[in-house]
């Protein structure tokens, strides 16, 4: 088991390295993208361009530039933005991180509860009305573009019903928990619901499918022949075996979201998290910030992948022998 963990994390580091190289190449090695022009502005003179290039080390060969950027980003941590000259990248990310964390954790709690409940109820009542009903809602949730749902939420809470039912909904934006817990909660409520809707749909559908499969397995028949109650069979045997895939799924999703995959939700609701930062930096082609955000996001995705693999071995004893 120990070697398994070590090997897993070693390959994670390798993947991170590859990602950093890939991102760097995408932004720096693609013909037609000229960082100097971006920084100096479109109508800058050749002189200004040359100066900018010198200042930011843009004339050095590619590998050197890569190493320099990595050095500034990770070791010295004084990488500065191309757009907001002087602003350091790392603090921007660390400031934005708790906001994303608040969004993701809250949404995760909601979607796990709703998703698991939905999946269990649907599987336990196969064939009755509630089963296809829940699945229908699940499909609808999965087919909605998250950003559009967010906009619709905004439409309803800020405009259409703002004076009546939703008068208590604050305008888009973020209030930190330490400033005012109630405001923090109210500002995050609808973003939570929007983000959770998509994932709850997925999880309910996946769990139902897994449960139905598990319930057809031989060991369920054995459990029934042992004289166990249907409820115990469902929860202690079928669900326990189905949870394995739900947990791995959750690990991957959670990791990706922490890393900034919720950028559309953040943009729509005006939450200045890592996703929003990624988005604005992409729009401005602010390459150091992009680099920082992508590495941040990739780190969590890769970490989540590795953690999930290890967790899977813990949850499913059959895997441990590998």
């Amino acid at each position: 088991m120990f070697y398994f963990v070590v090997r897993r994390f070693a390959s994670a580091v390798l993947v991170l390295f590859t990602i950093s190289v890939t991102v760097f190449l995408i932004f720096f090695a693609t013909p037609g993208v000229d960082p100097a022009a971006r920084i100096a502005g479109r109508s800058a003179s050749a002189q200004v361009l040359a100066q900018v290039a010198k200042e930011f080390g843009l004339n050095r060969p590619l590998p050197i530039r890569y190493l320099l950027m990595m050095d500034h980003l990770f070791i010295k941590q004084d990488l500065t933005s191309y757009v907001n000259i002087g602003d350091r990248v790392v603090p921007q990310i660390t400031q934005a991180a708790p906001i994303t964390l608040s969004l993701v954790v809250g949404a995760a709690v909601i979607w796990l509860i709703v998703g698991v409940l939905g999946g269990v109820i649907a599987a336990a009542n196969q064939g009755k009305f509630i089963d296809p009903f829940i699945m229908f809602i699940g499909i609808a949730a999965v087919s909605v573009p998250a950003y559009w749902l967010g906009e619709v939420m905004n439409l309803l809470t800020q405009s259409k019903f703002h004076s009546s039912i939703f008068a208590w909904v604050p305008p888009p934006g973020y209030v930190s928990f330490t400033t005012s817990p109630t405001e923090w909660f109210l500002h995050l409520l609808f973003p939570w619901l929007t983000l959770a809707a998509l994932y709850a749909g997925i999880y309910a559908r996946v769990l139902r499918a897994e449960l139905v499969n598990a319930l057809n397995e031989d060991y369920i028949r054995t459990a029934r022949a042992k004289g166990l109650s249907e409820r115990r069979i469902l929860f202690r045997h079928a669900l326990r075996c189905s949870l394995i895939s739900i947990v791995s799924l959750f690990g991957l999703d959670f990791g990706a979201l922490i890393g900034g995959a919720a950028l559309l939700t953040e943009v729509v609701f005006g939450l200045p998290g890592v996703g929003m930062l990624t988005y604005t930096s992409l729009q401005n082609l602010d390459l150091p910030v992009i680099m920082g955000c992508v590495m941040y996001g990739a780190f969590f995705v890769v970490l989540a992948n590795a953690v999930v693999d290890v967790l899977y071995a813990y949850l499913d004893p059959r895997v441990r022998l590998v």
């Binding site: 932004f27 037609g32 499909i139 999965v142 573009p145 619709v152 259409k160 499969n213 900034g260 992508v294």
Partner: protein
């Protein structure tokens, strides 16, 4: 568990002279799957919905020129339309608030003109919706085809040949998949959209629709490729493949005649889902202005257009979203139906 034997082939010998019961020939698995699919009412309904939407969108030019007599891509800031007996400005001066600026008209609910109202450029939203649908469906469909074909090929080679090829392709999958999808798609789009691609034999202009198509297809290749690879690897262990190898069949022959037909059901099951995912991804990219570029329109760009009008003329942003939900939903239902009919054991995630 009871042994429910559903035979597809049997014959009975007539002994008593009471008439021969008919012998049914063996039924091909494809035929029985199709039959099961046809019986799935939800899937059939979903298919009908998709056909309807596709047809309506394909008829966009017919609507725009034949019925509404307008050009939905040209600004129409000073245009007027006839409503009943009145002639109404498409963009009307604001009377509320500070009385500044103009607001486009809302839905007229007249099928022949400005059914859903106008956008901020005075263009007919409904007509643009149909044209946008063409683009969105086209991108979704084509990128799904490319994605499935490439993923199937990579999965086949990787799973069957193993060794160095497998290692290389798997690492490729790992790298692409390790990126948060949106991040990769957005990064590539940001970079490539302004410059186009001029690599080897691929020359694409910045405005080409194939840029988002290729980017979205590439990003999702591991999603389909990895399960296919797993499937091929487990198929390779099965006896009929071993038998074919033992009989001296060449690799190409085995791939073509033995492996591919057994992988097809999985690919078929993936296909509608990939169309749905790709459409959703395209709409997200277009919403961020890094997908479909003007003057072309897609459902995502129209939603983006409608953002400024969200509180005054919500239909501009709502309508394309509703269309996406219906189309993606129908594709998902169809995908579920395919899975039940062709490959019930497929483990499909719900979405990205």
């Amino acid at each position: 568990m009871g042994e429910v034997v559903a035979t597809e082939e049997h014959s009975t010998i007539d002994l008593t002279g009471n008439g021969v019961t008919t012998a049914r020939g063996p039924e091909s698995p494809w035929r029985s799957s199709l039959r099961q699919l046809r019986r799935n009412k939800a899937a059939v309904a979903a298919f009908g919905v998709i056909v309807f939407i596709v047809t309506a969108c394909l008829l966009a030019p017919v609507y725009a020129h034949g019925i509404a007599h307008e050009n939905p891509f040209a600004s129409n800031l000073n245009g007027t339309i006839r409503l009943g007996h009145k002639t109404v400005n498409v963009l009307q001066a604001n009377t509320q608030g500070l009385g500044l600026g103009v607001t486009p008209i809302g839905p007229t609910w007249h099928f022949s003109t400005y059914f859903l109202g106008a956008d901020s450029q005075g263009r007919d939203v409904f007509a643009r919706l149909l044209y946008g649908g063409r683009t969105s469906l086209y991108i979704g469909f084509v990128s799904a085809v490319i994605c499935c074909v490439v993923a199937a090929l990579l999965g086949l080679f990787s799973g069957y040949f193993g060794g160095a090829i497998d290692w290389l392709i798997s690492r490729l999958f790992d790298i692409v998949w390790a990126f948060p999808i949106y991040l990769l798609a957005i990064s590539l789009s940001v970079v490539l959209l302004t410059s186009g691609i001029n690599v080897l034999f691929i020359h694409l202009q910045p405005g080409s629709l194939f840029l988002p198509i290729l980017i979205i297809a590439a990003v999702f290749v591991p999603y389909v490729g990895r399960p296919i690879r797993g499937l091929v690897m487990s198929l390779k262990q099965r006896e009929f493949i071993q038998a074919a190898i033992g009989a001296g069949a060449s690799d190409w022959r085995i791939l073509r005649k033995e492996v591919l037909p057994n992988v097809m059901p999985s690919i078929i099951v993936f296909f509608p889902l990939m169309v749905a995912f790709n459409m959703l991804t395209e709409s997200a990219l277009s919403f961020l202005s890094i997908g479909v570029q003007p003057p072309a329109a897609s459902w995502g760009t129209i939603i983006n257009d409608g953002l400024n009008l969200l509180y005054t003329r919500p239909w501009v942003a709502m309508a394309p979203g509703i269309m996406i939900v219906i189309t993606a939903g129908a594709l998902n239902v169809l995908g579920d139906g395919f899975r039940d009919a062709f490959d019930p054991k497929a483990k499909l995630r719900g979405s990205i």
